[in-house]
Structures are given as C-alpha cells and as structure tokens.
Subunit: 365 residues, 2 copies
C-alpha cells in the first residue's frame, strides 16, 4: 500500500477518529503531508513483517501543544532533522520511520518525515490511538529504551537526550519542548525491525485510512457514519465496538490543570436513547465513558464523539452545549491491554480510581 | 601554581567574595573538590598565555538551584561526564577545563572536573564574579557559541544541545535542568585556546585564592578583613575598591519572582558611618548599591557584604535584621564593562532603569 493524495484525505478522518477527541487538529499537519507527497510522491507503507530484523527503525512525532504549532507553522522537515541527527548519533541509517502516535496529527508528522526523507513508513505505531505522554506507548511497555532521542525546533535548536531511564524521559523531553517555546519535533525509541515486530501496535496506519474511507463513503451515501466506522474496526485487530449513546451535549466542564485540559461532557440521549445519560471524562483525550451512572469503558478503549450528521470526529476543544453527537466506543488490540500496557495508560495512570473496563466485555445491550 | 588543599581553603573564601551574595554556598562543592584533590592530587592552574591557540578548552559548571544540589548531593563527576560527552561529540580532547563562573560554588565544579579528569584548570572564567544566567558571560559577549553543550544529571541523564543561537540557549538549557529536577552539570562554550585568550576574564581563579588568603590572614591577625580584601583586589586587574558603609541590617525584603530571589537590604551606618544609609538591591546576587539615596555602584561591580567580625562573605539567604556587616564595592576588569558586556549584564539587563555606575569613577569619599 502507498499513501498518496487520496489515502491522505481518508487518513485525515481516520486519524481524527483514533485521536479520541485529542491528539491535535489534523488539518495543518495534513496540509504539510500533502505538500510533501505532492513534491516527493506517495509514501510506501511497510507491514512490520516486511522489515528485516536488523533494520533500524526511528519513530518520529511532534511533541507539545498543537495550538502553538498552528501559530508557529513549521517548515515540515523538523522531525526529519531530528531523525537524521539521531542517525548520526547512532552511526546508522533508518530503514523507515514510524508514528509513535497514530491518532490525531502525529501520523502526519511521521508521514511527512517519510516523504521528505525518501523512506517508507511502517504501518504500525506505539499507541494505537492518541495518548498525551511519551512513556504511554507499547514501545516503552515492552522494553524499548526511549533514549537516545532528539528534539528539534523550527528555530534551529537540536537537542539530543543521550541517556536516561524511560520513566523520566517524558519529564526531561517535555522540559526541552517547553524551553523551545511549546513545540518540538522528536525522533525517539530507535529500535530494530525485530523490536518493531514485537512491540508495536500493527496495521494502524492502514486501519486509519480504511476508517477514513468508510466515514467519507458513509457521508457521501448519507448512511450512518458511526455504523460504517464500527464495521471498519470490526474487521481489524481492534474488534467490535458499539454506539454508547446518541444525543445532545447537555453540559461541558473544562479546566486547565498542569499540562492537561481536564473535564467532562454530559450527553442527553435522544431518539432511541431518550431518557439515557452518557458522561465522558477527558484529559486532552476522552478517557472514560459512563452510561446511566455506570463506567462501561475506559482508556485505552477508544471513546469517540462523532458529529451526528457529518460523522466528523469532534475535538474536545470544539465541544459545546447543544451539539448533537454519537458517542462510539471501540476496544483496542490485545497488545494495548496487557498488565504492562495498562500500568502505563490504564485509568489509574490518569488518576481515576477505577480499573480498566472495556466495551469488549460489556454485554449489556 | 597548583591548587592543593591549602589553596582550596583559601579559594572557598575568595570564591564566596566573588559570589557577591549569590552563586551558591561553597561548602558542599568545596568538600567535593577537596575529596577529588585528595584522591587525584593538586590541580595545575594554567595561565591563558600558556594555552596553545589550537587547544580545545571546555568550560564546565553546575546550573540550577544550589539548595536542591545540597539535598541531592552529586557524586562529583557529573560535569566531567558532560565534558567527556562533549569531547565525543566534537571528536576532540580537552586540553583543560575552565570555570564559566568563578564566583560561588562553580569554581569548584570545574576544579573537581579538572582533578577527576586529570587535566589542568585555566586560570580564567567567563564572568569574573557570579551571574545568574548562561548568556551573562564574556564568552557570549565576544562571540563564542554556547552550543554544542551537554547537560547531565546525577540520575544518569545526558542531554546534548547540538545547535541553537546564544540568546535562546539559557532558556532551553534551563528547561532541561528543570526537567532534571532543578540541577544539571554542564559543559558549554567549547572554544580554542585562542578564543580563551580573547574572551575570558583572566587570572580570576588565582585571584580568588589570593583574596581568600588575605581574608584568612586578616582574620588570624584580627585585622580589618575588608581592608585586606580590598588590598588584594587593588593588586589585580579589578582595581581599587572601597568600603561603602559599615553598619547593621535594618531591613531585608525578599520576594520570589520567576527564577530569582529579588529584594533589597537596608543598612544603617554605625561607627564612622553613623547617620548614613546604604541600600543594596539583589536578584540572586547583589546588583546595585546606594548610599544616602544615590546609586553609586551597579553590576558588574562586585557588591559584597562581609560579616563585620569574621570577614566571611554573607549569602543573601543568610541576611537578617541586626547583622553587623561591611559593604564593600569593587570594580571589575575592563573586559566586563564594554558595551557588549554591559548589554548582557548591566543593570538594565536585570530590569533596573539606571545605567551602569562603577565605584571606579566615584571620587566622593
């Protein structure tokens, strides 16, 4: 599979679904990727089984505040500069790059890097969704060191974190990004092809394209967008998701605490959901979903709000009272819900007092 | 000249004088240096004219909050690790290290590095005193790039800032240090021997030893400590300083704003200064000195408070009402008061609305 202009269109929608309300607005990064693909041609998407065990794979991402990125538009080659600097440090050449985070804008960061660097993109990532912190990824869960990593800014800084244990890398790297003004472009978790096979969430880039295509096609045919998206997930390693509730936004609470926008949205059921109440709690991304007072799904389950009509995924920053939405929940692949993974991004890692619950186990409808 | 145990004792006092009330308590760093010198032997002090023009000189320092350093006692070899990492990045071997900041604890950081690394210490620095920020040094004033620089922590992080313009390096490096928990050990402003000759404040380490010796000797002989210290400065490139006022602390105001402890101390003259009032404003270091309502001396002039009896320099954190002190002001070498240098650390760089005034020009006593 290659990612050309038509795949990019679909990916923009699919990555937003996997963003779970966060991960940054995809529009600007999509435009940068489109420009790179128009200049350099389509990007080859490599399945992990196509990698040689000895290949050097260097994942790339944007780290920081998407809103700042939209004010300080990057040239597009910042993450590639980080990748090249990491290559020089390691004394090797990357066979491919890979998204750390497939959800939201970051799939485009690595896609643009692949296009500009003339290298393939691995059809996998380290989250299978969007997550707010660097340690919240399967690479970390299954033993890939985050260091050495590089961080560059559009002002020409290049920072290499040569060493440091994984739990503290988020803190040090985040500080660097803040020192750079709030946005940095990173190359991290350098790994072998063998490690990529063992530690990544596979097939997520092509899945995002399929989800986007399903959504666009449903929109064109005026079919039910959530149903089309759920069908696409059902044919993947994610499995069968469900609609939690359809209805209107009754209330939105947001507060800025530390680095996250925390809060919740209350949904009042309509149509066949009349009389029911859904509550989604979020911290940058949607993290828990309740129906009628019972938590039925938590991170890493995908909890996604779609505009009722267009099916477009709704970013948390765009939630407002009266908006009619469909709340969809989808389980994530097995590799994302092991003990190691849940320790990093289960609900307790975000300060909630409940254990992980997945719509996979729910049989209440 | 070699720095052995007896020189270390004197250096501890002299560096505190050059700390101008800040630069960190020297005791812990002195002990680390003493341990290194006991293990490895005295450190050779090299005059800049003894350097080859092509020598690689790598200055070293601690960056961050001294109080945190005293809670998280380092092993002592952190700055050497940063120096070695920078050597590897540059593909060269340092002929010597050099203090970035001779005042306060940082002369010991580079001294310990020299001892443990088996290399000489250059008898010069980039400030001729203590200053709070990385860009406030003669190396920067006269065109030495701060990058590449390395920062390590006692937890094993090693960060290399490969590129970045000098004005922004303080911000990025400070962020790294904060991410490391508040203290980092740096190697920065790598330069040639030629650059060291052209851009450093020369002879400051040996001067600190001479000042300390004068102070210790005066204390032993129960002579006037400030007079002995001023005599030592008078025979250096710093020149003739003076006693501004002797008296008691009437009032101390301190407030924490951003990264600095800002405030002022009001001194009520006693003995031959009865009826006079001195005010010293500080931001981590003493920065301006007023006598009877008139500013007579500003940074980079050394403004130093000595305990009236012992002659020991008083840290701003130890100022308290009723303490009897001698306030001494000393001009600094010509290289520190050019237009380029004053733009970096004149009073306006700290937000004061006056131009630099030096006791060098004052003829009012």
């Amino acid at each position: 599979m290659k990612i050309g202009l038509s795949e990019l269109e679909a990916l923009k929608e699919g990555a937003a679904v996997l963003g779970c309300g966060g991960g940054g607005d995809t529009h600007l990064s999509y435009l940068l990727a489109k420009q790179a693909v128009m200049e350099k041609g389509p990007v080859a998407l490599l399945k992990v089984h196509e990698l040689d065990d000895d290949d050097l794979i260097i994942p790339t991402a944007m780290m920081g505040a998407p809103i700042i990125m939209s004010e300080r538009v990057p040239a597009g080659d910042e993450a590639l500069a980080s990748l090249r600097a990491l290559e020089r440090h390691l004394g090797g050449r990357a066979a491919a790059t890979m998204p750390i985070e497939v959800g939201g804008l970051n799939v485009f960061t690595s896609l643009t890097t692949a296009a500009l660097g003339g290298m393939p993109l691995v059809d996998a990532d380290g989250m299978g969704r969007a997550c707010p912190e660097l340690q919240m990824c399967t690479f970390n869960a299954y033993g890939v060191p985050c260091a050495p990593m590089t961080i560059s800014s559009e002002h020409g800084h290049m920072v290499l974190i040569q060493s440091g244990d994984n739990p503290s890398m988020e803190r040090v790297a985040r500080s660097v990004v803040i020192g750079m003004g709030g946005v940095g472009y990173i190359a991290a978790y350098p790994m072998t092809g063998k490690q990529a096979k063992e530690t990544s969430v596979v097939g997520t880039v092509s899945l995002a394209v399929r989800i986007g295509r399903a959504l666009i096609e449903a929109r064109r045919r005026k079919a039910h967008p959530a149903g089309a998206v759920l069908d696409a997930f059902a044919q993947s390693t994610y499995g069968q998701g469900m609609v939690l509730i359809e209805g209107r936004v009754l209330e939105v609470q947001r507060r800025r605490t530390g680095r996250a926008v925390k809060g919740r949205v209350v949904l009042e059921g309509s149509d066949s959901y009349t009389g029911q109440t859904g509550i989604v709690q979020f911290q940058n991304e949607n993290l828990t979903a309740e129906l009628n007072g019972r938590v039925v799904s938590t991170v890493p389950d995908l909890i996604v709000l779609l505009h009722h009509e267009s099916g477009s995924p709704v970013l948390i920053e765009n939630l407002k009272v009266g908006l009619k939405v469909t709340c969809m929940i989808v389980p994530t692949p097995d590799i994302t819900v092991t003990g190691e993974a849940l320790a990093l991004w289960g609900p307790r890692a975000f300060g909630y007092s409940c254990d992980h619950r997945s719509c996979r186990e729910e049989r209440w409808r």
